[in-house]
């Protein structure tokens, strides 16, 4: 009679032992202790959040929670900031591990302690793991945005409030058509455009909205290019007033180099044409996965919203997208020629340049008000300014397939590129990650593009030493100096430790135990039929049981042979004694 949870922590495999018992005609009556579910526990496995966050902006915590209580489990996740409750969220968890997000808006600068807490349940094996704490540095930082606009078109009316609604944006507007003594809009007012390279570097993102190329100098364009090259963001919105052809004609080299699309410099906007035919725009396959086009966390809702946006009447003509640029949005059409890019992006050294050939995004205020419109602009600005705001780190994610490994196990290193434009920039570049052991030994891991075509680089590392390992991936910008700041520099920690095999899996192996019982023709009991356990006594015969079995015994290994051997040895010894040979 075997009382066990069926989990094997050593010895010969259960199946082999069962086969042996079956051969010996020993019925094994399996009584399972436990159930297919692990021991009751609700725990916070991991909190993923930025180590540094902006004051007044949303600070998001992604929490990995393992529910071993029941499914579904309705519970509450509470977030405390320095001991004060700042958010509470009702969540419903299925059994196993789930990811939950909770957020807050930090109101004070400095190092803050954030505690995430789950309620304690009866009979939990461990209640200490219902809480977890992280420290986040709250800093006052802003995205300094400069909007240069030619004329106050309708988009301008809606664009300015949309940008100002973002709490991290410090907006300076420069309306080229304005009066000389005009007080320009924005929460960071300016009286003139930047004139020196340092002044341009004071901005993280610059938006050129259908600008009059004659009201900006070539030197200013060159300085702006330098700002982008150094990690800034640039958005060029084409409009009907001046068009990009005119801009290229006046500032050919820099603008043409920076744009992610090719523009015919001889094709001026057609002023006399009446645009009364509507066309739809669609996200390209790469555009679908891009953070800029993500208007909803749920991809199904996101896809629906994109189809609900009204059709447009005008977009700027484009020859083609540049080879390493990523087209996010294109004009809907049957042939490739009809599918003109209307929004594209590419990495420019350490910065990024975004092109929009549409000047009537205000149409997207239908059908849900300004919600999606504002969100789109927030996405654009955050994306373009991310390098300055948080470094390109946010555009790659370095992880391992698990957090904890045993010695000798294989660690799968994953570098996920979240930005298609960055992926295009990294094309053909050798990528490595380094693993640093607690003894400060460094081992390099080669990362190769994933064969599935995902935006993923994969490598493997064999865990040899125990302790906390630091995984790091650092990459210089292609064409950039090796001394220059890296394109990204990300870290991830994992542990290699001796693990308790008992605690590894606390669920019972019902199927294994059932198979053992069936294999040996024994009875099987688990919590489902435990009330019938008294039948087990009847199944065990009270009389001594004679088991017949055929065994193969080597003669030399039998008792008669042993006796014969002893007799012969004894006789030999007696004779030798008798003959005086000893």
């Amino acid at each position: 009679m075997l009382l066990s949870d069926g989990r094997q922590t050593g010895g010969r495999p259960l199946k082999a032992a069962g086969a042996q018992a079956a051969d010996a005609r020993v019925p094994v009556h399996a009584v399972v202790l436990g159930s297919e579910h692990p021991l009751r526990d609700l725990r916070i496995d991991e909190i993923i959040c930025d180590s540094e966050a902006s004051l007044g902006d949303v600070l998001r915590f992604r929490v990995k929670i393992t529910n071993q209580i029941r499914s579904p489990l309705g519970t509450r996740l509470t977030l405390y900031e320095d001991g004060k409750r700042v958010n509470q969220k009702s969540i419903t968890l299925s059994r196993g591990q789930s990811n939950v997000a909770i957020a807050t808006i930090p109101a004070k600068e400095g190092l803050r302690e954030y505690k995430l807490s789950l309620p304690r349940y009866d009979d939990e094996v461990d209640t200490e793991n219902n809480e977890a704490t992280v420290h986040v540095k709250i800093v006052k930082r802003n995205l300094r945005v400069l909007l240069i606009c030619g004329n106050p078109s309708r988009e301008y009316f809606y664009l300015v409030p949309a940008l100002l609604r973002d709490p991290v944006v410090q907006l300076s507007c420069w309306l080229q058509a304005a009066d000389i003594d005009y007080i320009h809009q924005g929460n960071r007012g300016i009286d003139r455009l930047p004139r020196k390279i340092e002044e341009w570097k004071d901005y993280d993102v610059v938006l050129l909205f259908d600008i009059d190329p004659n009201k900006i100098t070539t030197q200013q364009v060159a300085e702006m290019e330098h700002m982008v090259r150094d990690g800034g963001g640039l958005m060029v919105i084409a409009g009907r007033n001046h068009g990009l052809a005119k801009l290229i004609q006046v500032h050919a080299v820099k603008i043409r180099e920076m744009l992610p699309v090719e523009i015919d410099k001889n094709r001026m906007p057609d002023y006399f044409k009446v645009f009364s035919r509507r066309f739809a725009v669609q996200r390209t396959p790469k555009g679908k996965g891009h953070p800029i086009t993500r208007l909803d966390r749920d991809e199904k809702t996101n896809a629906r919203i994109w189809t609900e946006f009204p059709r447009l009447y005008w977009h700027h003509p484009v020859k083609r997208a540049k080879p390493r640029s990523v087209v996010l949005l294109e004009r809907e059409g049957k042939s490739a020629r009809e599918r003109t890019p209307v929004m594209a992006i590419h990495r420019y050294y350490k910065g990024a340049v975004f092109y929009s050939g549409i000047n009537s995004l205000w149409r997207w205020r239908y059908p849900y008000g300004s919600y999606d419109y504002d969100r789109f602009w927030t996405n654009v600005i955050r994306y373009l300014g991310e390098t300055r705001l948080r470094g390109t780190q946010q555009q790659v994610a370095l992880t391992t397939d698990r957090r904890v490994y045993g010695p000798g196990e294989e660690v799968r290193v994953l570098l996920r590129v979240l930005d298609p434009a960055l992926m295009a920039q990294l094309q053909g570049q050798p990528l490595y990650a380094s693993v640093t052991t607690p003894q400060k030994e460094v081992q390099m891991v080669s990362l190769r593009p994933d064969a599935s075509g995902e935006m993923l680089y994969v490598g493997t590392y064999r865990a040899r030493r125990t302790g906390s390992m630091v995984l790091r991936a650092k990459q210089a910008a292609p064409g950039g100096s090796s001394k220059a700041e890296p394109l990204f520099d990300v870290e991830h920690n994992f542990k290699v430790k001796m693990q308790s095999l008992e605690a590894k899996d606390t669920s019972a192996d019902l199927e294994g135990m059932r198979a053992l019982a069936e294999q040996t023709k024994g009875r099987y009991f688990d919590y489902n039929n435990m009330s019938e356990i008294d039948q087990l006594v009847g199944a065990i015969p009270s009389d001594p049981q004679v088991l017949s079995k055929s065994i193969q015994v080597d003669l030399w290994d039998g008792t008669p042979f042993l006796i014969l051997f002893i007799l012969l040895i004894g006789a030999e010894w007696s004779l030798r004694k008798y003959w005086g040979l000893l």
Binding site: L39, F157, R240, G369
Partner: protein
């Protein structure tokens, strides 16, 4: 020695065999250490049939997958933070008001733009498109070839999403704007045609300036013409502010003002500021002060500040004029807003449609209630649409007490299309 070795081997083999049997009998025991879960409730249902001995197992209930949380918590947090903060004017000029962001996707459009409202709008726009004069302008019963009426018609098409030479009514807007430009008087900068109001062209001028400001950024082929016209037009507005701080029909700074024209001009000057024209804050403050003097504690406004009777159609103009100071929480706004809400709730469709200047009053009330949020805007728009439904004639037109047909139709079309959010005069 040999004997001892053989004996040892034989005994070892025996012991090994005996040990193997023991291990077998403990059923791989070394590895099978039991550790179970206690105190678990017995599920009502069970899985597959167990081993030979088990007769019947209770059926196990499959565990349900919890629903995914689809709410965007981050957006809601930001919206809540902004709601607490209220409307702000982040720049140096209070004209640029930024209202809190919506916490979630608004269903307002779907709720208000019913098939019936869409049909009414379509018919109204078609009526306007049909009645456009050959010179690009529009005429009304009282106002022949009038710039004010033309400006309103252009704005009605702009509210649909059309721009000059772009969109379904792109041609109509374009020729309408061209008409306005043709009627700019040299020297004074006043935009008023031959069919202007007999007592003075300020309404026409203000509305024309508003339409030109909204079209300016989308008419590149006009070059500097439109900029020059607008500079003159805005200057005319600024110069004609009277001593009491307001404006009236005549484009002159002499005489007394009235609340209706003053509110209109303030509204236009605010748009002018957004478009890059310099308007002194002192001038706006003086104008707003005039509005404040016209206000009564019950939320109504008098036509002139020394007048006795309040005019119900002036509520909306009062609210939008007061917002010029960058304060949506101006102490006079809540009573005025509540008064509009009360009026539209209290009075029947018949009462409202027979009111003098109903469509005019509704136009300004729509601008005011839209800014005050869905709580006020939704019931107001529904009631207004119901009144319009009873007013619309067979050809799609609306009317006023003087049987003017075009300007009321244009104003009604603007109101009906306001939920689209395509006309920047509707601010949130």
């Amino acid at each position: 020695m040999v004997f001892a070795q053989v004996l040892g081997a034989a005994v070892n083999r025996k012991l090994t065999a005996l040990l193997a049997v023991l291990i077998l009998l403990t059923a791989g025991g070394a590895g099978l250490v039991s550790s179970g879960e206690r105190g678990r409730k017995r599920p009502r249902k069970s899985g597959k049939k167990a081993g030979k001995g088990a007769k019947k197992e209770p059926r196990k209930e499959p565990e349900k997958e919890p629903k995914k949380d689809k709410t965007d918590e981050e957006r809601k947090l930001l919206a809540e933070m902004e709601r607490r903060k209220g409307a702000t004017f982040p720049g140096r000029d209070p004209a640029f008001l930024v209202l809190p962001r919506p916490g979630e996707r608004s269903q307002m459009v779907k709720e208000l733009l019913t098939p019936e409202v869409k049909k009414m709008t379509r018919e109204a726009l078609e009526y306007l498109a049909r009645t456009q004069d050959t010179d690009g302008g529009w005429s009304d019963t009282q106002f022949q070839s009038n710039t004010g009426v033309t400006a309103l018609c252009c704005m009605a098409f702009m509210a649909e999403g059309s721009r000059p030479r772009i969109g379904k009514y792109g041609k109509h807007v374009n020729s309408g704007i061209e008409f306005l430009l043709k009627n700019v008087k040299k020297g004074s900068g006043v935009i008023a045609g031959k069919g202007s109001y007999q007592y003075g062209p300020m309404y026409e001028h203000a509305l024309s300036t508003q339409a030109l400001l909204l079209a300016w950024g989308d008419m590149p082929w006009k070059g500097d013409d439109i900029r020059k016209a607008l500079t003159g037009a805005v200057e005319a507005l600024k110069k004609s502010q009277r001593q009491d701080g307001g404006w009236r029909y005549l484009v002159s700074n002499q005489g007394n003002s009235d609340m209706s024209v003053t509110a209109n001009v303030l509204w236009v000057l605010r748009t002018a500021k957004k478009c890059g024209f310099t308007v002194r804050q002192a001038s706006i403050d003086k104008g707003t002060n005039y509005i404040r003097k016209c206000a009564l504690p019950d939320g109504t406004f008098r036509y002139r500040y020394w007048g006795l009777h309040a005019s119900p159609s002036l509520g909306g103009t009062g609210v939008i004029a007061l917002m010029n100071q960058g304060r949506i929480d101006h102490k006079l706004i809540p009573p005025a807003r509540d008064r509009i809400a009360y009026d539209y709730r209290r009075y029947t469709i018949k009462d409202l449609k027979t009111r003098r200047y109903f469509v005019y009053g509704a136009f300004y009330a729509s601008l005011a209630t839209y800014s005050c949020g869905d709580k006020y805007w939704l019931p107001w728009h529904k009631k207004c649409a119901a009144v319009f439904k009873s007013m619309q004639r067979e050809d799609g037109e609306f009317y006023d007490q003087d049987d003017n047909l075009v300007y009321p139709t244009a104003m009604a079309a603007i109101i009906l299309q306001a939920p689209l959010g395509y006309l920047p005069i509707y601010e949130r």
